[in-house]
């Protein structure tokens, strides 16, 4: 090899190095390709329009829960419905901590909470708020929804882990169970903030669409919370903030048939719409009779069988609880003229099915009907109940409040102190009124529990359907509510959580 060749070689290598460097710098974008169809969450939370989409995401968990799991399971768990299907666990309180539906409810609610936390943690990252009102509305909605989700959780599972910030890793999610009182501290604080932050109405502009909770919705939710905690005076006061800022609809059916969504009679609804499965409700699939290709999960309890053939917890109850002439009965339940598949010896048309929210317009049963979560009627009946607990006043304001739904929705005559002579009688009446007014709106189970009468109510049903007395309400799952002192039933925390969270603490009583 001579020198010339060496020089030539050196030259070539120089070119190669230059070329390589050029290529490397030219290739940086190869290592950082743009993400298409997805964005880094942190990037999204820098703008108002971005954070609004994150707020919308908090609501999304409601869509799934209120077309199936939470509605079906808690209505079965109440005295409103029984089932002929496999989901008898909820109906007769025969379940353990591995049942997937609890996990579903738990997961879905914490998903909502995580999303609310994500928004709250990012509030100050947004650089372009169009107005202070918009920022307040964003914060208010996140807090309202976080309170809403925690309120469901604490009523079903008792003290649950409190997570107030976004989860960055396993450690953040592994939190111990807080006490029931601690959870309520957070709920109340969030609702107080929401009442202050949320607007009285929405303009309909982007990010301000009607259907988001107003300050009145927050007050009504707070009233529900205070009623649960038997803070009667405060509950009445919170409800009073709502009363006068809405009105009952003349036609009861209009709340549930999509004709008058987000009306003055309603404070907070799960908004179903669009054309796809993800944003519409398939609740009809679960409530339709099998003859109509539905699943007929919950079937209103009915005494026609006299305990003989109705099902495990069917008994005298829901179908009969409507006073004659109550216009709400045919809205809430229906008995189509079809064979009775539970007991073929009965006449056709003797089976009742859930009728509220039933929408079979779409061939795939994709319904756009909203699901009502908080109605103006809630405020009326909360205040009525609270006032009565504070002190019975013959024909006082509580009577007016009670009669407002009775007469407007039910078409029934008003009740007076002649009918309801004392506090106890009024209490019975308000409980009855709540049952018929809010049938299948996921209120009955919670009511029975907070009144401390869940066991006696359900056991009575069980005794009718199973005269042997072998079906027993699991009283080992009751606790004494730390705030109200009432017997209070708790669902099991999903078993898997104790494996994946060593910090969690103890399971609810009776589930080990």
């Amino acid at each position: 090899m001579n020198n010339n060749i060496n020089i030539e070689k050196m030259k070539n290598i120089k070119y190669i190095i230059i070329l390589s460097l050029f290529l490397t710098f030219g290739c940086e974008n190869i290592l950082e390709p743009p993400i298409q169809g997805a964005v880094a969450l942190d990037d999204l939370l820098l703008t108002e329009s971005g954070i609004i989409t994150a707020v919308n995401g908090i609501y999304e968990q409601l869509l799934d829960q209120y077309q199936n799991v939470i509605v079906i399971d808690l209505e079965l768990a109440s005295d409103n419905a029984f089932t002929w299907r496999a989901e008898t666990q909820y109906d007769i309180y025969n379940f353990d901590a591995t049942l997937s539906n609890f996990q579903d409810i738990w997961t879905s609610h914490y998903t909502g909470i995580t999303r609310a936390n994500t928004v709250l943690d990012a509030l100050e990252s947004v650089e372009d708020y169009s107005s202070e009102e918009m920022k307040d509305a964003i914060e208010g909605q996140a807090k309202f929804l976080r309170a809403f989700y925690y309120f469901n959780l604490v009523r079903m599972f008792g003290g649950v882990p409190i997570i107030e910030h976004k989860v960055m890793g396993r450690e953040d999610a592994e939190q111990p169970r807080a006490s029931i009182e601690e959870v309520y501290v957070l709920i109340k604080s969030d609702l107080d903030d929401a009442i202050t932050l949320l607007p009285t109405e929405y303009t309909g502009a982007s990010g301000m669409e009607v259907g988001r909770p107003t300050t009145y919705a927050a007050s009504a939710l707070k009233a529900m919370v205070l009623l649960e905690l038997e803070e009667w005076g405060n509950a009445a006061q919170a409800a009073d903030a709502v009363i006068g800022n809405g009105a009952l609809l003349a036609n009861y059916a209009d709340y549930f048939n999509g004709s008058n969504e987000n009306s003055e009679g309603s404070l907070f609804e799960v908004q179903y719409g669009g054309t796809e499965g993800g944003t519409t409700s398939q609740i009809s699939r679960y409530i339709k009779p099998p003859d109509f290709a539905g699943l007929g999960h919950p079937i209103p309890t009915d005494d026609i069988y006299n305990g003989g053939g109705g099902g495990l917890s069917s008994g005298n109850s829901f179908v009969q609880c409507f006073e004659p002439g109550d216009l709400r009965k045919s809205v809430t339940i229906a008995n189509p003229d079809i064979p009775n598949f539970i007991d073929p010896t009965q006449l056709d048309g003797t089976m009742y099915f859930m009728n509220k929210f039933w929408n079979d317009v779409d061939p795939n049963l994709l319904s756009t009907y909203n699901f009502t979560l908080i109605r103006y009627a809630d405020a009326l009946l909360i205040r009525a109940e609270a006032l009565n607990e504070v002190g019975y006043v013959a024909d006082g304001e509580a009577f007016d409040l009670l009669n407002e739904t009775r007469t407007t929705h039910g078409g029934l005559v008003a009740l007076t102190s002649a009918d309801l002579a004392d506090q106890a009688a009024f209490r019975t009446a308000i409980r009855q009124e709540r049952r018929v007014e809010f049938g299948f709106e996921v209120k009955r189970y919670f009511d029975l529990n907070r009144w401390g009468i869940l066991e006696e109510t359900i056991q009575a049903q069980m005794d009718i359907s199973d005269p042997t007395g072998e079906t027993v309400f699991p009283s080992e799952n009751l606790i004494s509510h730390p705030i109200t002192g009432k017997d209070y039933f708790l669902y099991p925390v999903p078993n898997i959580e104790f494996i994946n969270n060593a910090e969690l603490g103890d399971q609810n009583p009776g589930y080990n």
């Binding site: 190669i16 190869i30 290592l31 993400i35 969450l41 999304e60 994500t118 309909g204 969504e261």
Partner: protein, 1115 residues
């Protein structure tokens, strides 16, 4: 390629003698021997001479002065000094020379260009040798080098394998050589026709193997590399080349994972180690690393060779993608010579190789009666055997399948000129499916061209295009789709009515309880098509900078376009109807391009051989998918998207890329001591900025002990090599953008309009890094008796580390995806053995190749849960039981089978024990072993009962040849593993809801105390039979006679005319014999590719047996 010989010998005007001095005369003569010998030229040449007593040398000089003629002879020739007398008067030169040499030991030869060579008589006498060169099976081999031994004088065989060569007198032998074949030296003696049969070079020490970014001679390899040549690939009637690999190479396990006619395989090299990433090897076609391991579109007949890089020392050049091994595929290249054409026609028939035995209608009726009696249901309709319904016995398997015709035509061509070679093919395949209404077609086209422009520049281009069209059926699954539908539906309904139209029952009333659909409806009515178009190719420019130093630039691309169309029609048949049709259209596009620059240095300094490579590579993948579906049509003519009313659509677009530097140095001393070092530095878009780059080094040494002097005396030993390697490779296939927290779609609604919603989709882990794979390997290669025995044995220990494991977090985290962290480690250890022997040679020959591999997989660590307990990762849930069959746990094999142990059924007299064990249990009910001995049936009775991964697998090929006939028998086997037969879990549990397998006919009754659980319909007994247990877990071990092949080559004399050079007929029978205890269709039928859910047979597209006739004609 060698230059034409004449060009190498410049014919000087004078001074010949000087040249002659420096060369051996014999050699010169050999060179000259290809020149045209001519007498005509000299007829006009005359000389005038009158000399006495002059040396011949002087006389010739005088003649040169008088004419243009030049003489050419060696100074060494003493005779040239002999004194002679010559007298010539204008006499023809030839006559003069004849006079001069008539009595001399010398003679002369006159060539065209006035050159006359003088040499000893015996040297100048030439003779013509002709012959035909064929392969072992008798196929003519074009392009074989035929050289006079010890010289560079030679020629190539033509398209018919024929050659003709002038051989100088005194030449001892001819050497025949061909890539991939054993060179042969044949003594010429008195022969004028020499026909040679080339044998594959078993040792192939000089054979080159394609490794990343270059080739290496096999003898110089220090890592573990196995190769499959064209011969082996072509020797089997294959649809895809996964099939060609199957059973051929130790350490490479190929399993059919079911699916469809296009072939769906999984390949694993040296076990599997990645839980969340891929376990597929990297596939590199002509230097283009593919995006996925799907290469089903490549025409197997286009493949020149497949080289499998198994250990880290061989694969590390591919760094972050090499953890699962690399398969290098090289397509056929042209060779110098005239155009050669090869036409292959393969025609065959396929049939399902096995069918399930299902109950007859009468057996099923009796099952109903017993089950309904046991479950307290009315048996009224089932009791009367004379009911016409029970006379129907439809064999759905027969109705739904067909004997399928398969045709494949392939036209290959190739050739080349001095500097440019080309090769190409056109191929058409049409394969009917054995399931009715399925078929598959493929068109493919290839053109490879390479051109050496001058000493410095070489350009080569490979290009393949293909188009596939498939009509497919539903994939395998639990329920009544795919082949399952034929099994699960009751036999007592008719498939067609009297008009030949599909029919079905219109009631669910007894006896039409349970599965009573007509499975042909779902098979025949919907339209399901999919197409794949693919263009794959590369262009490479090699610039020789200096001797041994080559700069190469390579640019390659692979574009895969897929589209599909499915239409579910409106129909109403009996009680089965669809009110609305629906259409699904999808399209996917993968664009993968790569650019490499490499600098390659190859030089020998005495005994020091150095081969070095440095390179830079950029690669980008872009993948888009769209899927649109619409429904609503009520008219089957209106079967397009635009005819629908309800729509849904999804789409994705993902781009990822790699930027890499790499280098490799191979040093050897005297072909004895070898040292190889490789390193790759990869940057990948799949990781966050902090962990974007990874370094993957490897090193290996080899010692060719046979080259040591102390072994030189052992004649039988050709080669003995010890190899040891160690290295690190990576697996980057973890999905895109896993390192950031992504915003997932969470739409909501306001005012009945959908609004955009977003929510955290995962918990991003910015610390994610490569999965790594540390591999130690040691191997020995041995060749004996001139390659008649060649064997190689390897041991490896492969540790997969930093495996990406998705660790469970509490549900309170509020995201649906568990965070992925690098923490797991798996180990695969194994031994591979390969043996190739030529047992008998000669007219009758027998060769054997055998390989077997043992692999043991062990999970070392997959992390802990929050309680600090070792994590257990369950596999896919088995429907019905809703429990997994696989469980991955540290200390066990990945996806080990974990379940209850079947213990027959409770018998009469065991009532008390049964009741204590599990309340409602009674005689006839399933019984499972009480492993924890606590007397009751609980989860503690589950245990690990086997592995889905074969402990050993391999293949053996025996080829017997006699003259024009050749017979080859290929066996393939695997063993030491289990398969979970989900079909039996559903159809052999004595529950009449579905049609049962024939084995159930022996069900338990008090009178027949068998171990087949008692029939039931619902209730305790039924739920106990659903349980995942060893009852449905079967030994998957098998031995298959994969292939029997008989070839006959038409004798050359029977081929008339020049048009056809050779013709060969091959009759092949594939998959006719399988020896296995497995009762499903195929013991290899693992329906899932997921590492954690292996060995589950969901009844994939049934395997077929094939009989085919192939005709190969060379023009």
């Amino acid at each position: 390629m060698k230059k034409k010989l004449p060009n190498l010998i410049p014919i000087p005007k004078s001074g010949i003698i000087k040249i002659v001095r420096t060369m051996k005369l014999a050699l010169i003569i050999v060179f000259l021997s290809v020149l045209q010998v001519s007498a005509n030229v000299y007829s006009q040449v005359t000389v005038n001479l009158d000399v006495q007593d002059k040396p011949i040398r002087e006389v010739l000089k005088t003649i040169e002065q008088q004419s243009q003629v030049r003489f050419f002879y060696s100074d060494d020739l003493l005779v040239m000094s002999e004194l002679i007398d010559v007298k010539a008067d204008n006499k023809n030169i030839i006559g003069v020379l004849d006079d001069i040499f008539s009595k001399s030991p010398l003679t002369y030869k006159a060539y065209d260009n006035n050159l006359i060579v003088i040499a000893p008589r015996d040297l100048l006498q030439q003779k013509k040798v002709t012959g035909t060169v064929t392969a072992k099976d008798g196929t003519p081999l074009p392009g074989v080098n035929v050289v006079v031994t010890g010289t560079t004088m030679g020629t190539l065989t033509d398209a018919a394998g024929k050659y003709s060569i002038e051989v100088p007198q005194g030449s001892k032998s001819l050497t025949f050589s061909f890539i991939g074949m054993e060179a042969q030296e044949i003594t010429i003696g008195t022969l004028t026709e020499i026909n040679v049969t080339m044998l594959e070079s078993a040792v192939g020490l000089e054979e080159v193997v394609v490794v990343g970014y270059g080739t290496i001679k096999k003898k110089d390899i220090t890592g573990s590399v196995a190769s499959l040549g064209r011969e082996e690939i072509e020797s089997r009637p294959i649809l895809t080349f996964e099939d060609a690999l199957k059973g051929r190479i130790s350490g490479v396990q190929v399993r059919q994972t079911g699916g469809d006619l296009a072939g769906d395989f999984s390949i694993s090299i040296r076990g599997v180690g990645s839980v969340n990433g891929t376990n597929d090897p990297l596939i590199v076609v002509d230097g283009v690393p593919l995006f996925s391991s799907d290469f089903s579109t490549i025409n197997p007949k286009d493949i020149q060779s497949m080289d499998v890089l198994k250990d880290a020392s061989a694969t590390a050049i591919y760094g972050a993608r090499a953890a699962n091994g690399v398969i290098m595929i090289t397509t056929k290249q042209g060779r110098k010579g005239e155009l050669r054409l090869t036409l292959d026609v393969d025609l065959g028939f396929e049939q399902i190789s096995k069918m399930y035995e299902v109950m007859s209608t009468e057996q099923q009726r009796l099952l109903f009666v017993e089950a309904f009696t046991n479950s307290g249901r009315s048996t009224a309709v089932y009791d009367d055997p004379t009911n016409p319904i029970w006379q129907i016995d439809t064999d759905w398997q027969e109705e739904g399948t067909q004997t399928a015709f398969r045709q494949n035509y392939n036209l290959g061509f190739g050739g080349g000129s001095e500097n440019t070679n080309y090769s190409g093919s056109f191929s058409y395949l049409n394969r009917e499916g054995t399931l009715k209404s399925t078929d598959f077609q493929q068109y493919s086209l290839r053109l490879n061209v390479s051109s050496q422009f001058n000493k410095y520049l070489k350009l080569s281009t490979n290009l393949t295009g293909s188009h596939q069209e498939e009509n497919y059926a539903d994939a395998d699954s639990w329920g009544a789709v795919g082949y399952r539908g034929f099994l699960q539906n009751h036999s007592y309904t008719e498939p067609y009515d009297e008009n030949g139209e599909l029919t079905a029952v219109n009631t669910t009333a007894a006896p039409y309880f349970g599965s009573n659909s007509n499975p042909l409806i779902d098979l025949l009515l919907p339209t399901k098509t999919r197409n794949v178009n693919r263009i794959l190719g590369n262009t490479k420019l090699d610039v020789t900078l200096l001797d041994g130093l080559v700069l190469s630039g390579n640019f390659g691309g692979d574009i895969v376009l897929r589209d599909g169309y499915a239409y579910n029609p409106v129909y109403s048949i009996g009680r089965f109807s669809r009110d609305q049709g629906d259409v699904t259209v999808n399209a996917a596009q993968q664009v993968n391009w790569v650019g490499d620059i490499t600098l390659d240095y190859d030089k020998q300094f005495g005994a020091h051989n150095i081969k070095a490579l440095a390179g830079f590579s950029v690669q980008q993948y872009k993948q888009t998918n769209t899927n649109t579906s619409g429904a609503g049509t009520i008219d089957n003519q209106l079967n397009q998207l635009s005819n629908q009313t309800d729509f849904g659509a999804t789409g994705t677009d993902v781009t990822s890329g790699l930027v890499s530097y790499f280098g490799r140095a191979i040093y050897n001393y005297g072909d004895k001591y070898y040292l190889t070092g490789t390193v790759r530095y990869d940057g990948s878009s799949r990781f966050g900025a902090d962990n974007r780059y990874g370094v993957f080094p490897s090193g290996s040494v080899a010692w060719r002990i046979s080259e040591e002097s102390f072994l030189q005396s052992i004649d039988i030993l050709d080669d003995l090599k010890l190899r040891v390697g160690y290295g690190l490779t990576g697996n980057q296939d973890i999905g895109d953008f896993a390192f950031i927290t992504k915003a997932g779609s969470a739409q909501y609604v306001f005012g009945n309009s959908v609004v955009v919603g977003n929510a955290p989709e995962n918990i991003g882990n910015p610390n994610l890094k490569w999965e790594s794979n540390v591999q130690f390997g040691v191997g020995i290669d041995l060749s004996l008796f001139k390659g008649r025995i060649y064997s190689s044995i390897d041991y490896y220990d492969k540790q997969s580390q930093d495996l990406l494991i998705s660790t469970p977090i509490p549900l309170t985290a509020g995201v649906s995806v568990n965070p992925i962290v690098n923490l797991g480690s798996f180990q695969n250890t194994g031994v591979e053995f390969a043996l190739n022997t030529r047992n008998i040679e000669g007219d009758f020959s027998w060769t054997t190749s055998f390989n077997i591999s043992f692999n043991k997989n062990k999970v070392i660590d997959i992390g802990t849960n929050s309680l600090g307990e070792p994590l257990e990762i369950p596999g896919e849930q088995i429907p019905l039981a809703w429990a997994p069959a696989n469980l991955t746990r540290a200390g066990q094999e990945a996806a080990g089978f974990y379940m209850y142990t079947w213990d027959g059924v409770w018998q009469l007299g065991e009532e008390a024990e049964a009741a204590a064990w599990d309340g409602p249990a009674q005689p006839g009910d399933p019984k499972y072993v009480d492993l924890n001995g606590n007397g009751i049936f609980d989860a503690g009775d589950k245990s690990f009962v086997g592995t889905p991964q074969p402990k050993y697998f391999g293949g053996m090929d025996n080829t017997f040849s006699y003259k024009n006939l050749s017979l080859s028998v290929f066996l393939e086997f695997a063993g030491g593993y289990k398969v979970y037969n989900t079909a039996r879990n559903l159809l052999a549990r004595s529950v009449p809801f579905v049609h049962n397998f024939a084995e159930v006919a022996d069900f338990w009754t008090p009178e027949n105390p068998s171990n087949v659980s008692r029939p039931s319909q619902g209730g305790y007994t039924t739920s106990q039979t659903n349980i995942v247990s060893t009852r449905w877990l079967e030994d998957g071990s098998y031995l298959k006679i994969k292939n029997i092949r008989l070839s006959y080559l038409l004798p050359a004399e029977s081929i008339k005319g020049d048009f056809i050079n050779s013709a060969k007929f091959t009759l092949t029978a594939s998959n006719f014999f399988t020896f296995t205890k497995y009762t499903g269709l195929d013991p290899e039928a693992s329906s899932r590719n997921d590492l954690l859910s292996q060995g589950l047979d969901f009844t994939p597209y049934p395997p077929t047996k094939l009989i085919s006739l192939a005709i190969q004609v060379n023009f």
